[in-house]
């Protein structure tokens, strides 16, 4: 992943002449990481693509208010997470399903972007039953092997709460898999 000089980017963002170019660099550097973070929540390529575009449009509109209080990726991640949750709520309203974290489990079978065997499909079905935030924490810890401190900086939750959340997620997944055996 390409590195970005945040101080330099911040300066260029404030200059109307260089603002667009600086933002293009941000999109180029962070879009791949953000894509997967959004995918953890919405678990579908087309939806992830929509949410990712909305995230960058929101970020562009709010760019003048970003003063560098947090890292650029943290700022983008929080916009992306909120957009993902908004998307899930809209999807829930459209499908009139009560559970806002509902993800159609059978969709993994037909998903051309799914690249796993039956066991991984079962795991993803179990992951899809978790609430959105817990799903994020589980995926970052389990699939990315991120440290709790890193996740804490990103999601703004204490390390203790994250450990508890991950532990509960593992228990839920275990119970789900047992029920399918």
């Amino acid at each position: 992943m390409a590195k970005i000089d945040e101080q330099d980017i911040l300066k260029r963002i404030q200059d109307p002449q260089s603002k667009r170019k600086a933002f293009e660099e941000i999109v180029n550097v962070y879009s791949r990481q953000l894509y997967w973070k959004i995918h953890y929540v919405v678990q579908n390529h087309d939806d992830t693509d929509d949410v990712l575009q909305n995230t960058f449009i929101k970020a562009w509109r709010g760019l003048d208010n970003f003063k560098g209080d947090s890292a650029i990726f943290t700022w983008l991640y929080r916009i992306a997470y909120n957009e993902s949750i908004t998307f899930l709520k809209q999807k829930k309203q459209m499908s009139s399903i009560d559970d806002e974290d509902f993800v159609e489990q059978a969709s993994f079978v037909a998903d051309e972007y799914f690249d796993g065997d039956n066991t991984q499909q079962l795991l993803m079905q179990a992951v899809s039953t978790l609430p959105a935030k817990q799903r994020q924490v589980f995926c970052m810890k389990y699939f990315e092997d991120k440290k709790y401190e890193e996740i804490s900086d990103l999601v703004g939750t204490s390390v203790g709460a994250l450990k508890a959340s991950y532990h509960i997620a593992v228990e839920k997944i275990t119970t789900f898999i047992k029920s399918k055996e």
Partner: protein, 141 residues
């Protein structure tokens, strides 16, 4: 945990079982910047539309306010006219309050003329009155 669970939830973590082509990411930045440019073009157009809309709203409010004034003035003028006409037709009391009270008493307790007028007006005669009083039990034959 069963063997299957141990295999699924490996302690070292696992691979996220989804893939996206590199081509998608190659074109992504360009697509997003295009989207942003089109959004930027939409915003000034909306800003230009805004004054026309507010002028229309202002015009609607102005007309409503003017209509309200006309209605209020019309109602007030009508009331003044009605009161003026009514005052002309109501006889002014010429007697003292004591005489006025006596006159009222006279009107109230002089049955002949008053009752006749009333019976003509209501189209009843003495027989009807008699039967009515009899049926109410106030009058015995």
């Amino acid at each position: 945990m069963s063997t299957k669970n141990n295999r699924i939830l490996a302690p070292e973590g696992g691979r996220y079982p989804f893939k996206v082509s590199d081509e998608y990411f190659d074109n992504l930045t360009a697509r997003i910047m295009e989207q942003i440019d089109s959004v930027e073009q939409e915003v000034p157009a909306k800003v230009e539309e805004a004054p026309a809309q507010s002028a229309k709203l202002f015009s609607i409010h102005k007309n409503r306010r003017r209509n309200l004034w006309f209605s209020t003035i019309s109602i007030a003028a009508s009331l003044v006219l009605i009161v003026t006409v009514a005052l002309k037709f109501i006889p002014t009391p010429s007697s003292t309050p004591v005489e006025q009270q006596k006159a009222e008493t006279t009107v109230q307790y002089t049955p002949d003329n008053y009752n006749e007028d009333l019976m003509n007006y209501t189209m009843v005669d003495n027989v009807d009155v008699y039967y009515y009083l009899a049926s109410e039990g106030d009058f015995e034959e």
